[in-house]
Symmetry: C2
């Protein structure tokens, strides 16, 4: 397959130039059809109306009678110097698959995505990965239908793996949650189901400009794509920012040979060392506790909410959904109080775009600290564990519109979070941006982020979403 | 510095050919002198004779009154299908530094190592990293002397970092333990203290043939060295195994340019995918519990030991040690019942040595599963969590002596474990070795292991020790 190589996805010329206006019109027609074809109702419930879910005696945890799915437990964080706080947290030990199937069609790399409803979605349907299933789902321990297209991701018939790595999710809302982020190239024919669509990668990038359309799982999987710089000849770029952005993907495959990291401010060894230092500085510890032991949250008939009204509530919802077969279920969801903000500041240094990242401690992360956005307004706790104020917030909130390279509000996982929106921004800064940054910040190239995201637990889910946003700037 | 480059340590000709017999004689003279100069006494104690250590009311955990150092807690493992077991486990949340300082002296790469006593050492002194200190030690929160040579590893005067990564330790004996493995190139002069010695790397490799000499911390740090293949011209190799071993380090720097993984059986993407699959198959969970809740272990006045006499005991020791200043302290240690075994099977495939590794679940590992040896006879629990029988044990126990490329008994960490010996072997197998291996095994090149060990939580501590053994075969 010409457009993909072993370690990096390289685009053919057509993959980058096929963006005809009609193509997106086709997508939107199909999308409108999907919206019309389905039934989607989400109804607020009292906890007592949940079916199969109950507050377990003893712990007070909100659990399902099957012992499966997930539970709402408690988490306590000790600062290491006497302070502590507690909060509810979603605990789901099972690892699921988030998988995007890709295929070269007429010389253009396409992704198979689905129009999928989740109860927490702002806009009912969102563009979701080919496969989005927990292990219980896909191994069908409880019966149920075979997960569609699963055979491309598991078992003897699976395609060629381009990405397959465990990645973390929101560390203020979930306890040690990991999902398997996979991109697999299909071998052979792939019959198309009506809820699915083959989209050129370039169109997916375009669709990331639509509010609440490309879902979190699609973004995190595409953020893990090992993208390389396309050959110069294919990309006559006039905008100096875009030219510098392309150089940030590393040397062109054909004329590699030299130092792959030569243009970066820091070596990858230095970057790993920096993160190691940041991890060893964390004195706090966190652990699961019974939900009954959480303080600062009060439970009413239909919500378990933080008393200060700034973090989140656990609520209950009833769902009626489907197209041919309509199913009903009920479940708890975590509803944040505020919209989140996640920003990558981008700066041209020596003709190469560098992104400013921050080492971010989050109490539910397995490795406690991961690489996150330059600026993040957490839609969750804003306490001793957040790294303190966001020193670069004023730079981004006051940015000239011409500097704002990406700016879209998108949703976090609608299967667990209710109307959890985050505003994702990529903002270019100039030479007036402070050259020296505090020691928990670091300037990385796209190539370095791409190399790190091949491995688990380097980039937070927001950083992976932002990396997908950066890819969309091609 | 000619002998080191940004991402890989490359040897000059002299670094590989400087091994004069006199040199090792010098080392042994210095070592004998160190043994004579010091006082080292380790005395068995009853728990009641421990100073500052006590079994805490409520949990029964064996703790220190300062709340620092480490504690002996309990761990419970649930298999996910009803089975469970429990055991004592060492819990030490603090991350320490294991650091080796290196320097090119007369064109030869040297390591600064120290003769260090630990109470659990089989042979009193072992050859230890330049720095071996917990964060409490080196930040001197409790006063005490400045850790010698620490300034090369932390702060504004530190040297050039070659390796700086968190790595796990024994997952059957320690809970989520991580230490920072560092190799730093000294800049400027380094005054030599009498307990320290500059050794050419080639001599360190030779000394790994001595029983219980090179300690675990030195091995794991050197196992993280990013070694590259020396230029062909410098290494006329006649032994086909050694020639194939050198090819396993990847292409020569000067004539790289081609595909760095071209000669490997699997791509690195496939290897990461294989490990991801192995991690998602683990249904078990583990957690800390009070030591009082552990079953199958019985406590006497001087030991907390497993009833079946096959795993380990927690014991107490008094120590009197030092040379100029003699200090005394008491502490608990974990004493395994049996000698361990850790083997890498090595096979030439297409003229390139591949090492057979196994994905190994260990209940105390943060990531639950890491890449371990081909064969491991755990000096710890041999239960439902061990991956079952060791199918390749008969191949290695019946190996022809000519196939045994490395075979030395070395110790695990003498600060926590009492007389914990492991026999490390690298055994070459021929074409009669089964070509198809069970799905939790994988054939990797040295280059691939070297690439993975740049990141946290891929290789177990035994696999990192074995990787250092492999390096010693040059």
């Amino acid at each position: 397959m010409a457009a993909l190589d072993r370690s990096a996805v390289r685009f053919t010329a057509s993959a980058l130039t096929d963006l005809k206006p009609t193509a997106l019109a086709d997508f939107h027609r199909w999308w409108a059809e999907r919206l019309r074809a389905g039934v989607f109702e989400v109804t607020p419930l009292a906890f007592a109306e949940l079916n199969g879910w109950y507050f377990a005696p003893g712990s007070g945890n909100l659990v399902h009678e099957s012992g499966k799915f997930f539970e709402v437990s408690g988490m306590r964080v000790d600062s290491g110097d006497g302070e502590q706080w507690s909060q509810p947290i979603i605990h789901q030990p099972e690892v699921g698959i988030l998988g995007v199937l890709v295929k070269e069609i007429d010389g253009v790399l396409h992704c198979l995505l689905q129009a999928k409803m989740e109860p927490g979605n702002v806009s009912t349907l969102q563009l979701s990965p080919t496969v989005q299933a927990t292990r219980s789902n896909y191994t069908r321990v409880h019966g149920g239908a075979q997960t569609r297209y699963l055979e491309h991701f598991r078992g003897p018939g699976r395609g060629r793996v381009l990405v397959d790595v465990l990645q973390s999710e929101q560390g203020f809302w979930c306890w040690h949650k990991q999902n398997r982020n996979m991109v697999v190239e299909a071998t052979g024919d792939v019959p198309l189901h009506e809820d699915f669509v083959w989209l050129p990668l370039s169109q997916v990038w375009q669709l990331m400009r639509c509010e609440n359309l490309v879902n979190m799982n699609t973004r995190t999987v595409l953020g893990c794509l090992p993208l390389a710089r396309p050959p110069k000849a294919l990309l006559p770029v006039e905008d100096p920012f875009r030219a510098a952005l392309l150089r940030s993907y590393g040397p062109v495959g054909d004329d590699a040979g030299g130092e792959p990291e030569a243009e970066a401010l820091h070596t990858l060894t230095d970057v790993v060392s920096w993160l190691t230092e940041m991890k060893t500085r964390t004195a706090w510890t966190s652990r699961l506790v019974p939900l009954d032991e959480v303080t600062g949250f009060s439970r009413t008939a239909d919500a378990l909410a933080d008393d200060e009204e700034r973090d989140f509530a656990i609520v209950a919802r009833g769902v009626r959904a489907g197209n041919r077969e309509v199913t009903r279920w009920t479940q708890p969801l975590l509803e944040p109080r505020r919209q989140g903000l996640a920003v990558f500041v981008a700066k041209r240094v020596g003709g190469v775009v560098h992104l400013l990242v921050r080492a971010r401690p989050e109490p539910g992360l397995l490795g406690r600290v991961e690489i996150g956005p330059t600026v993040r307004r957490p839609p969750a706790f804003d306490t001793m564990l957040s790294c303190g104020p966001e020193p670069f917030h004023s730079h981004v909130s006051g940015a000239d519109p011409a500097q704002v390279r990406f700016d879209t509000v998108m949703s976090e996982e609608g299967g667990r979070f209710l109307h959890a929106e985050t505003r994702y921004q990529v903002i270019e800064v100039g030479d007036d941006f402070p050259p020296d940054v505090p020691e928990d910040y670091c300037w990385l190239t796209v190539q370095q982020l791409t190399e790190l995201v091949r491995h688990s637990h380097y980039l937070t889910v927001e950083a992976r979403s932002l990396l997908a946003c950066v890819h969309s700037l091609w």
